[in-house]
């Protein structure tokens, strides 16, 4: 039996029009990500990696083409509709952590669970923070934590709702090498435990090599990278 697709992109185009000029970022891009796969999208700076991620996650709409999440098309939904899909099935880890400065570590992790209306938000969040080794820092605010700690909170936040798909955008980009490695270990460890589909955007080949499949984005199209 064929594994169902977690994410599918069909003939995606994304361009920016500026008067008569048109800048193509992605052209006729198609992609299939089976559930549970760990996929790395690599490419040089400015190649459109983040644009692709934003389209796949429904943060932005394509100029043409469609995106399906678990077989359901999301490209035609409005912002609120896509937000609901994100809330249900996606988790995010960003390069710049993106924690709300006004919330404690625990509250930051609880936020997506609460937004999804989950009653077990607190228990789940405490468990997730324990899992990333921050059981003692529940009531600390982001400004009281180091970059590595903040990213661990972000990882706990991403995994706590047990999303079907996890998007990670340069998760080690703002960290030193040592901390970065530990974060990557944590990320992949958790991913292995939960079986979440992981779509990782990075320019770091070393990081990409930890994924099952690597696609290079070049001139708006994806190219399969040979396994190392």
């Amino acid at each position: 039996m064929q594994t169902p697709l977690a994410v599918e992109a069909v003939n995606l185009d994304k361009y920016i029009e500026n008067g008569t000029d048109r800048l193509d970022i992605l052209s006729s891009l198609s992609l299939q990500v089976p559930a549970g796969e760990k996929l790395a999208i690599i490419g040089s700076s400015g190649s459109g990696k983040s644009t692709l991620l934003s389209l796949l996650a429904g943060l932005d709409s394509p100029s043409s083409g469609k995106v399906l999440i678990s077989g359901t098309e999301i490209s035609h939904l409005d912002e609120d509709g896509r937000a609901a899909v994100r809330g249900r099935s996606m988790g995010f880890v960003f390069q710049s952590f993106q924690l709300l400065p006004s919330l404690t570590a625990l509250e930051n992790v609880m936020l997506p669970l609460q937004l999804a209306g989950r009653n077990d938000a607190k228990e789940k969040s405490i468990a997730a923070l324990e899992r990333v080794g921050l059981a003692q820092r529940l009531s600390h605010y982001p400004r009281q934590m180091s970059g590595g700690e903040q990213q661990r909170v972000a990882i706990a936040r991403a995994f706590a709702p047990q999303p079907a798909i996890l998007f990670a955008d340069e998760p080690t980009g703002n960290l030193d090498e040592h901390t970065g490695e530990r974060i990557v270990d944590l990320l992949f460890g958790l991913n292995a435990e939960s079986g979440t589909t992981l779509i990782l955007v990075t320019h770091d080949m070393k990081l990409a090599l930890r994924c099952q499949r690597r696609l290079r984005l070049h001139e708006g199209k994806l190219h399969e990278e040979a396994a190392a």
């Binding site: 912002e79 006004s102 937004l115």
Partner: protein, 835 residues
């Protein structure tokens, strides 16, 4: 509930970071200003009305041509008001073979309810009867009367002598020098004789058909008096009318009206400033919140959910700010009470809960109208902003977003000023000003762009910074200009305008009128005044006439809805003539006569009476003058400043028109304090003259002016604070961006000194531009307000304006530098981490 909890947490964190603090501070000041001005205006007004009541003898007076119904007194008693009744009628009194027409006033114990009677109880020679009196401790004892000095002079009676009044003899027990209720038509007053009510029936003077005026005076707490007056007005029957002090004395009405306008203006300025401060402060607050809401959108929050968070936040800030503001406004009452005891003779009525409720409502309305439209756009922050920081950053406020603020402002202004015209003027000026500032700032930026590139050194940094972000410069100049303009306007209003107002009633304003001067006495009178150093005394002729017809149609009182118009039409006019228009009059319509118009049947009418009687240029009025019909055509309409206390006339003709009619003359003059003795001499030389003392009235008006200037200072303090809040908010609005830029410059190797100089240069230009706009705007507004609203002559104060301008141009960069200093003193690395 979750939305509320997130809202609360965000608010707490942004409070700590400082963005919300300016917003809340501005709101607190706005609410405190409206609340306390509300408290203040109401309370001080009732205190002033009470003080004015001293001129009337009570807070309210009911007049009737028949006995006042007992029901009125019973109702007053039920409402806890004090009341007393009086009766007035003309009658002849006899002393030996001499007789004299007098105006008898019959009073009950307790009269007057406000103010006091001044009497002289020692026997002195008639020439000394005008001075040296004391406050009476009661009313004339039964069997005795008090008489005015001129009655004593005319009949040659003194204290202890007997007078025949109707069927009885009374002993004169005191000389009545001053009484509060002596208002009305001051030109037709026969001398006063005052007696006790218990004696009235025994005189046999009041019989069916007698011309008797019945009065009831009432006094009490402001609110109760107002409610009673409202009740009474619905009950009034034919021949009954009710007056308060402002109806009775136009001078008081004008003074109070101006006072109210001054207070209203200050309160308005506070509110406008607070709204500007709130708008400015909401901008960095919105900016800072962009990421948080983008993230929530990213995690699946719907627009509806974000709306709930934002609304909770708005309401939380509104509750916090309005609550604190109302408390502050209320606490200011304690200060006000202290102030009041220094300012006012009487204690203020206690504060009610209403101003606090109104203040809270105003706070919520302001927050929702000013901040919400801008905050609400956070609902539309794209989730993509998480990846693309530039999204949602460029926000151009749509003009529609300012409409709720303008509406709330209009309502608040109207509420505060209670005066639609003033509100409209302020709103229009504000709109015009915004446009002018935007144009000026735009021109300024264009000019900077043309500046030669060879400007060197750190100053270049500042100029370059201005060129880089013209939009920000315009916004900031706008904030600074409004703040500075309001402060300048207040300074002008407080100083120049108030001084101008007080000058309309200078120290040497006429405080005595003399009426009944006969034509053959004029020359001797002038000599008398010259001899005593009173040179500029003008004497005006006066002929009495009754209006019969308007444009050939008999006068019909039923045509006038207005009570005042009826009275004006009904009573005798004092017609006067003059070759030249009086200096304090202003020609509004038509033309003043030429020497060639001598004897032509022309008439110049005062604006107010022309309006009340619906008369216009070209109308023909027929008067009955001494039994003859006289037809006059209205050839001009004049505006008269009644509160200058000079003799003035509703109706004036050219010379030669009234020559053949019996005229008496009138003059007004200023008698310096301590020279009252002169009056005694005057009366001895011209026994037929009637001297009317308006010094007490003048003192009352002056007193109001003084109290108002104190009151204004108090309200001014709030305006000053809100003005400073605007300036601060304008600084904070762009601080973050400037700190980033300064840090970058330092990373690139600029010294602290260079960055600071750049900052000074930038803000000196912004400050100078704002100061220029503010000074010009404030001067124009002050001119407009003074000439069109307050009717006060206004002289532009150039040195003052330049001083304020210079100060502003220095103050702005200084404040900017102080605000940024701590960032400049840190290492670039620390600052980089903190942003």
């Amino acid at each position: 509930m979750m939305a509320f909890s997130i809202a609360w947490r965000q608010l707490r964190s942004q409070w700590a970071a400082g963005e919300v603090r300016v917003l809340v501070l501005a709101l607190v000041l706005a609410v405190a200003a409206t609340t306390s001005v509300g408290f203040f205006t109401n309370r001080i007004e009732s205190a002033l009305v009470r003080q004015g009541g001293m001129l009337l003898g009570g807070d309210l007076m009911v007049n009737a041509d028949h006995t006042i119904p007992d029901a009125y007194a019973e109702e007053a008693g039920r409402r806890g008001l004090q009341f007393t009744r009086a009766t007035e009628f003309p009658s002849m009194v006899l002393h030996g073979d001499d007789s004299q027409l007098v105006e008898i006033k019959v009073i009950e114990a307790g009269f007057p309810l406000r103010g006091e009677l001044t009497v002289l109880e020692q026997k002195v020679e008639p020439a000394l009867m005008l001075t040296g009196g004391q406050v009476a401790s009661g009313i004339p004892a039964p069997g005795t009367v008090w008489i005015e000095p001129r009655l004593a002079t005319r009949l040659g009676v003194n204290i202890g002598d007997s007078l025949e009044v109707g069927e009885r003899h009374f002993q004169v027990s005191a000389i009545l020098q001053r009484e509060p209720s002596r208002g009305g038509d001051m030109f037709s007053i026969a001398p006063r004789l005052m007696m006790n009510a218990v004696d009235l029936s025994s005189t046999g003077l009041v019989q069916f058909g007698s011309r008797v005026k019945y009065q009831m005076l009432l006094a009490g707490e402001g609110q109760a008096v107002e409610e009673y007056a409202a009740w009474l007005k619905a009950q009034l029957g034919r021949g009954e009318r009710v007056q308060n002090v402002t109806d009775a004395r136009p001078e008081m009405r004008n003074a109070m009206e101006k006072a109210r306008q001054f207070l209203g203006l200050s309160a308005m300025v506070s509110v406008i400033l607070a709204m500007v401060a709130m708008f400015l402060a909401s901008q960095p607050y919105v900016q800072k919140s962009l990421d948080s809401y983008a993230l929530m959108r990213c995690f699946g929050a719907s627009r509806r959910f974000i709306f709930r968070i934002l609304m909770s936040q708005t309401l939380l800030i509104a509750t916090l700010g309005s609550g604190l503001g109302a408390l502050l406004g209320f606490a200011a009452q304690a200060g006000l009470a202290v102030l009041a005891s220094r300012l006012l003779v009487e204690t203020l009525p206690p504060p009610g809960i209403m101003p606090a409720v109104a203040g809270l409502a105003a706070g919520f309305a302001t927050m929702l109208a000013v901040v919400w439209p801008h905050l609400a756009r956070l609902r539309d922050v794209p989730a993509l902003r998480i990846l693309r920081r530039d999204l949602g950053e460029q926000y151009q406020a749509h003009w529609l977003h300012f409409v709720p603020a303008l509406l709330v402002l209009a309502v608040l202004i109207f509420w505060q000023a209670g005066y639609a015209r003033l509100a409209v003027i302020v709103l229009l000026s504000l709109a015009g000003l915004l446009l002018a500032i935007a144009v000026l700032a735009w021109l300024g930026v264009r000019l900077l762009a043309r500046l030669p590139q060879n400007v060197t050194g750190s100053w270049l940094l500042g100029v370059a910074a201005l060129k880089r972000r013209p939009g920000l410069v315009v916004a900031q100049v706008l904030g600074f200009s409004l703040g500075l303009m309001a402060l300048t306007l207040l300074a002008i209003v407080r100083g120049d305008l108030l001084a101008s107002w007080q000058q309309t009633l200078p120290e040497d304003a006429p405080n005595r009128f003399i009426i009944n001067i006969q034509p053959d006495q004029i020359e001797r009178m002038k000599q008398f005044f010259n001899k005593h150093g009173l040179n500029q005394v003008e004497i005006f002729p006066m002929v009495r006439g009754r209006l019969l017809e308007i444009n050939g149609k008999p006068l019909n009182l039923e045509d006038y809805q207005d009570d005042r118009a009826r009275r004006l039409a009904e009573r005798e006019f004092n017609l006067s003539w003059a070759a030249d228009m009086q200096q304090d009059n202003q020609l509004l319509e038509g033309r003043w006569w030429q020497p060639s118009d001598h004897g032509k049947p022309m008439l110049s009418l005062e604006q107010g009476i022309a309006n009340d009687l619906h008369l216009k240029l070209g109308d023909k009025l027929t008067y009955d003058v001494a039994g003859n019909r006289l037809e006059l055509e209205i050839s001009s309409i004049r505006k008269v400043e009644w509160d200058t206390m000079r003799a003035n006339f509703f109706a004036v003709t050219p010379p030669g028109v009234l020559d053949n009619y019996p005229a008496s003359h009138i003059t007004s003059f200023h008698l310096p304090g301590g020279q009252e003795q002169l009056l005694n001499e005057l009366v001895r030389e011209f026994p037929n003259l009637t001297v009317i003392d308006v010094a007490a009235l003048l003192d009352q008006v002056r007193e109001i002016m003084n109290k108002m200037s104190h009151a204004l200072e108090y309200v001014f303090a709030f305006s000053l604070l809100t003005g400073l809040a605007v300036l601060y908010a304008a600084l904070v609005a762009t601080r973050e961006e400037r700190v980033k830029e300064a840090t970058l410059l330092r990373v690139l190797g600029a010294s602290r000194r260079q960055v600071a100089q750049g900052l000074w240069a930038e803000f000196a230009i912004i400050g100078a531009l704002a100061a220029l706009v503010a000074t010009v705007g404030a001067a124009i507004m002050a001119y407009y307000l003074s000439s069109q609203v307050f009717n006060i002559p206004y002289q532009f104060n150039l040195p003052g304006a330049l001083g304020i301008m210079l100060l502003s141009a220095l103050l702005v960069p200084l404040a900017a530098w102080l605000g940024m200093r701590r960032f400049l003193n840190q290492s670039p690395r620390t600052v980089l981490q903190s942003i």
